[in-house]
């Protein structure tokens, strides 16, 4: 009985910590996608003054994993982080609303914002990875002790 309780509790802790870690990994991938997309938009606007439809077509060709372009709308797929969602929505609402110079400034500002978020999430991910490693070792040690 004691054996099962220890195993269940250890598994629960490890799964919850790992899921947190994987959600952090996902946030990083999403942020990398966003930064790449905004860089693409910046280049297209700077070089060709592409309109919104052209920007969407261009981004669609890149096949981003976490950004969809259904019905000519740019959306994030399956992301739960409210901060990322809000910032992304604010960027999307600003596309096309100013002159080219303004659009380039917006792109540059947003790249900075999302890169700062990316750094923050990467730091969190490193911490969580270390915690995971420690917990995994601890869990393994507990199981070994129980078996002994």
């Amino acid at each position: 009985m004691r054996f099962f309780i220890v195993i269940t509790v250890s598994a629960f802790i490890i799964i919850s910590v790992f899921s947190d870690y994987f959600s952090e990994r996902k946030n990083i991938s999403v942020l990398e996608d966003i930064v790449e997309m905004i860089r693409l938009f910046r280049n297209e606007i700077s070089f060709r003054k592409s309109d919104v439809n052209e920007l969407l077509q261009c981004a669609q060709k890149r096949a981003f994993s976490y950004i969809s372009f259904d019905d000519n709308k740019i959306c994030l797929c399956g992301i739960k982080d409210e901060e990322i969602k809000e910032e992304f929505e604010s960027f999307v609402n600003k596309i096309g609303t100013t002159d080219a110079e303004g659009q380039l400034n917006i792109c540059n500002e947003e790249i900075n914002v999302f890169e700062a978020m990316l750094c923050k999430h990467k730091e969190k991910e490193t911490v969580k990875r270390n915690v995971n490693l420690s917990l995994s070792l601890l869990g393994a040690l507990c199981i070994i002790i129980i078996f002994i």
Binding site: S50, D51, V52, I95, G96, T97, T98, A100
Partner: protein, 304 residues
């Protein structure tokens, strides 16, 4: 009807829906759709029409008409510019947005100046959507008047059919049935003649090269150097740069067909840049059009 619907296609739904409901016999004659901030939307054909809030067409100006307020004027311009003001900023500063099928929206508002030129426009208070139509055989009278000459100036007041004629001339000189076809270069500074920017192509002939959104002077130079045209076509010439480019390009074995705003030949002669072109012999003939009452009809031909 298609031309009218083309002109409406980019409008916000709140205006597109009632304007699309206009009956076909009225829609096929409409030349302009006018939005003025705080004023009723007006449809200009041979008569003047308004749209009621419930979507009916009326010729009576009353208080129940569809009106665009200041915010809606911005929405109209934003929608016409495909939600991309940054792409159309230069054109809006010059007072227009190219639409599908050769249609054009004139835009007016408060000018924002930078280094003594209009940099952008804010507080839009007037939008004029001009419906562009093709008429079979519209250039027949002009072609009969010019004969074999392929170097002439077409003079006409606004809405006299100058751009429509240019398209028809392109098809005549370089279309599938042209024998022998001529190589044409169109310098389409406002994307009005060939409407190539947005994938809604207007037929301007098989052997026609289109330089879209090039300033006329630069486009003429590039066409001459790289595209070996037999005829270069330009719409609404008149600036010093354009005259300079045509003067330096004359005697290069290329003919020019151009249009200029003017009610009559004498009026055009009062414009020094055009006078210089005529005096230098860039054009062999000038064709004066009747005006908006009879679009594309020839009033007078002047040979030099």
């Amino acid at each position: 009807m298609n031309a009218y619907l083309n002109a409406l296609s980019l409008l916000p739904e709140e205006f597109k829906k009632p304007l699309s409901a206009v009956s076909e016999n009225i829609a096929c004659k409409i030349k302009e759709i006018r939005f003025r901030s705080g004023e009723p939307i007006v449809l200009y054909s041979d008569k003047i029409y308004y749209i009621t809030k419930s979507g009916f067409v009326t010729s009576l100006c009353s208080s129940s008409l569809l009106v665009a307020d200041e915010k809606q004027m911005y929405d109209v311009v934003f929608a016409l510019s495909r939600r991309s003001l940054h792409t159309y900023q230069d054109m809006i500063a010059k007072g227009y947005i190219p639409l599908r099928g050769g249609c054009k929206a004139g835009v007016a508002g408060r000018a924002v100046m930078k280094n003594n030129v209009v940099y952008s426009v804010s507080a839009f208070n007037s939008v004029n959507i001009r419906v562009s139509r093709e008429y079979d055989g519209c250039a027949d009278e002009l072609l009969a008047a010019v004969g074999d000459c392929t170097s002439y100036l077409i003079i006409g007041s606004p809405m006299s059919g100058k751009t429509t004629l240019l398209r028809a001339l392109c098809r005549f000189y370089s279309g599938k049935s042209a024998i022998p076809p001529k190589k044409i270069a169109i310098i389409d500074e406002r994307d009005e003649i060939a409407s190539r920017t947005f994938g809604c192509f207007v037929d301007v002939g098989v052997h026609t090269d289109v330089l879209t959104l090039y300033p006329k002077a630069i486009g003429t130079e590039i066409a001459l150097r790289t595209l070996s045209p037999e005829i270069i076509i330009l719409d609404e010439i008149g600036t010093v740069e354009e005259a300079g480019a045509l003067l330096s390009a004359m005697n290069s074995g290329v003919d020019f067909i151009a249009t200029a705003h003017g009610g009559c030949f004498e009026e055009v002669l009062r414009r020094p840049n055009i006078k210089a072109l005529i005096n230098a012999g860039v054009f062999k003939k000038a064709i004066v059009l009747e005006g908006k009452q009879a679009p594309c009809r020839v009033k007078d031909v002047v040979s030099f």
